[in-house]
Symmetry: C3
Subunit: 341 residues, 3 copies
């Protein structure tokens, strides 16, 4: 028997199975510093203990996307090692802040399977939950991937989970104590509050960042995501490595500071598509569209639903005439963030 | 109204205005580790709690240039986004150590303006102050930049601040408690004390470091300096990014350990010029000239004034016959550091 | 007299001399995060405080190879600045865990010298010891290098130390409190315990990582290893920098997680050869051979002796017909690690 992990195939997933992902991880100041070094992240609440305290929190939590990447990275050896494609996300919710010193673990429940008509692969839906050292859930999300089938077993009964198009405003979890009543717009970097944004408004975030191989590999390893396509130049004739989709998410989100500096904390991931692959040498730009706004029960805290689009060229058409993503589009993400009202 | 920051133009600065720069930042162990990973920094006092305690400090502070870069980075969106050139520094003083866990903020007072004769741009002088979470100033310096003018307003009255050629020894601030009486030269790495250096002495620091795009972008983002010229390869036909001048300062200062291992803490920045642009692929070398020495009131602590020159070729002429910087010279910096007597 | 360090030559080493290496270093969370970002390290005990506590430790220590690189890096200016070749390692033992916040220093005793017949160089053996802030040894190892001779002094008496072929199982030091009785194999990532490995078994670790210049320079600086061959592109016509051998050790060890996830802590270095130089662009792969197994006194804790081979091509022959290392072999390392029984 081989001692190395060959990953799971379509045949290995049964609805109802719960997979414990390996390697718990303690995250701290070092991961925060690296996050700021790898992405032009400037959100004040994730940058300054003082600012976070003025917003009612004990100190500055780790960036919402650090939590996402760490929880996601653990699932790779069990969920996407043999994945042909990462098809989508839904029902993602941040449930509690992650603080420096927390230890994160990750489990996934198989909630859907559908064999493809060719019998060679199938789609698997999992609901992944990240927990801290007190077993408190900090994040959950549904992801579905297309995975190769290995054996000749008959197709399992198709189960397609019933997923919400978007997380309902009433289901958003606001971190305990968060209070934007005395929010300091000057220190945060922009004067725009929730009421200043109109549904349908589009913001071009202007700046661009050209990506290098060393950077995305450093980032992807930091999340203990070891999918070989991100690291091994011999996988492609041009020697380029396929960049982890989450790297593009973090880059685009950080770029969106310019125009959305007050969209402080991501609290829900409604959906997302990695529209085209990203490679070193691409210059990533981003634009956002305001999809919705909502109230929350927390003082001074509203919610804004945003489409975040990353491109490797200038901002332009999202889709081509045939309804497919424009070849320059890298990411189309739909999320809720908290913003002062 | 656009929600993104277009930066300030010459017309937007009035003498006496105080600008609060955005995004306070808590700095800790992670920033220290990254500083050591990005630059060959080996100064014992910024590397070891034990060594710092033996020098009378509570623990090892964060590197003096971490403080500088963090404070400087915050000013970029308000001061140099539309700058044509970074013209100079003066009257820089480190006023208190920055400790892991401190939160830094930054403000700038406009202290001078002078419109250029072409009416298209002008020079702006600002005095920037960095403060910690207790509102204690940790660093101040004057910087002047040439900025584009946007409108047709008449030229403002010219105000040129009266700046010291160099910080006077009596104005240097020695960190509270610093005591070099029992300084351990073996652990510090070199036997040379202040008395061993002669004014006019030139030290070639021998080593060279070739710079990669990934490294200077990681560094520059860490300081939340988001000037697009440092990140966007589409700005130039050759795809190279202009390297943040501060990256060259830190690289040269770290290289100067070899010959100046006991020039432990920078306490003043007398002046500096980014003589020529630096690009990835350049191999940075450095040499220093001793400009002056002075006493301080602290036990065993002297001060040494140094010219630090970074080049991209071998050490050689600083200027050409016409008085301009030699094309290989990247940096000409004038600073005071503390050294055991 | 030049103020810069020219390094020691063969003539400068005398058997019995003890060299105090410069620049003590406090290591913390930041170094840990960087280690995870630079290498695909996933060992649970070095990743999670919770997992380490369940194994009887106070918290997660810093990775065994962080300790090695920090202690080794300090020796470079005194031992290998003028080295022609790094010839070997022996009798390496990890003596106590390194915790975040510890300050490490390093000393070396010269234990052997042998001038080469050409009179131009010689071999020097040193036993290096790393200590923490309480002067407790955390690591010791013997290393021998070939160093250039500078003067015309007569050859010193040859002293060749008597070195063990391999650290004896009874000499392995198990960290105080370590207990694998309740070891969680699911969280660790693999089900294989010591009894599942057979002497002679070979494991191909499957994955490959292509190395970039920025990454190995960031790593090597982090260990304050300043040997110029690793940083200065002008040293070679092709502009490539020679990669620090320890970078390959850490990369190969991290890759060996896939098949050896439960080989948690390195406790001895029996020997090692940097068989061929490694350069940016090489894709590093690894395979391991089980050389021996042993018991320890600690509950549930066994020891496994492994040969770890790093290659820049596919796993293949270790040596060619003439007994030399195959040109694709980068590293041949022999070590003991602790594993649940």
């Amino acid at each position: 028997m081989s001692k190395t992990n060959a990953g799971r195939f379509f045949d290995d997933y049964k609805v109802g199975d719960v997979i414990t992902h390996a390697v718990p991880r303690t995250v701290a100041e070092g991961e925060r510093a690296l996050y700021h070094a790898l992405y032009p992240a400037r959100g004040a609440l994730y940058s300054s203990d003082m600012f976070a305290q003025d917003c009612g929190l004990e100190s500055s939590p780790l960036d919402d996307l650090i939590a996402f990447h760490i929880v996601f990275g653990k699932t790779v050896p069990d969920v996407s090692l043999n994945a042909v494609a990462n098809l989508g996300y839904a029902e993602g919710r941040w449930l509690a802040p992650v603080w420096p010193g927390d230890t994160l673990t990750s489990t996934s429940e198989v909630i859907g399977v559908k064999q493809n008509s060719n019998g060679k692969s199938g789609v698997v839906w999992v609901r992944t939950t990240g927990r801290n050292q007190m077993d408190v859930p900090v994040l959950e999300y549904v992801r579905w991937v297309m995975v190769r089938k290995q054996g000749d077993a008959p197709a399992p009964d198709t189960v397609i989970p019933d997923l919400q198009k978007s997380v309902l405003p009433g289901d958003l979890v606001v971190p305990e104590g968060l209070d934007f009543t005395d929010y300091d717009f000057a220190l945060a970097g922009e004067p725009h509050r929730l009421g200043d944004y109109k549904v349908g408004e589009v913001i071009d975030h202007v700046d661009g960042v050209t990506i290098e191989e060393a950077e995305h590999m450093i980032a992807t390893r930091l999340w203990q995501n070891t999918a070989k396509v991100h690291f091994d130049a011999t996988n492609r004739p041009d020697g380029k490595r396929l960049i982890y989709g989450g790297h593009v998410i973090s880059m685009a989100r950080a770029l969106s500071f310019n125009g959305l500096a007050n969209a402080q904390m991501i609290v829900a991931l409604n959906g997302g598509a990695h529209a085209n692959p990203c490679f070193a040498g691409d210059t990533v730009r981003a634009w956002s569209e305001v999809l919705d706004t909502a109230d929350t029960d927390a003082p001074g805290v509203g919610a804004i639903r945003l489409r975040l689009v990353a491109t490797k060229g200038k901002a332009g058409a999202l889709k081509t005439e045939d309804g497919k993503y424009h070849p320059d589009v890298l990411l189309d993400l739909d999320y809720w963030a908290l913003m002062p009202t």
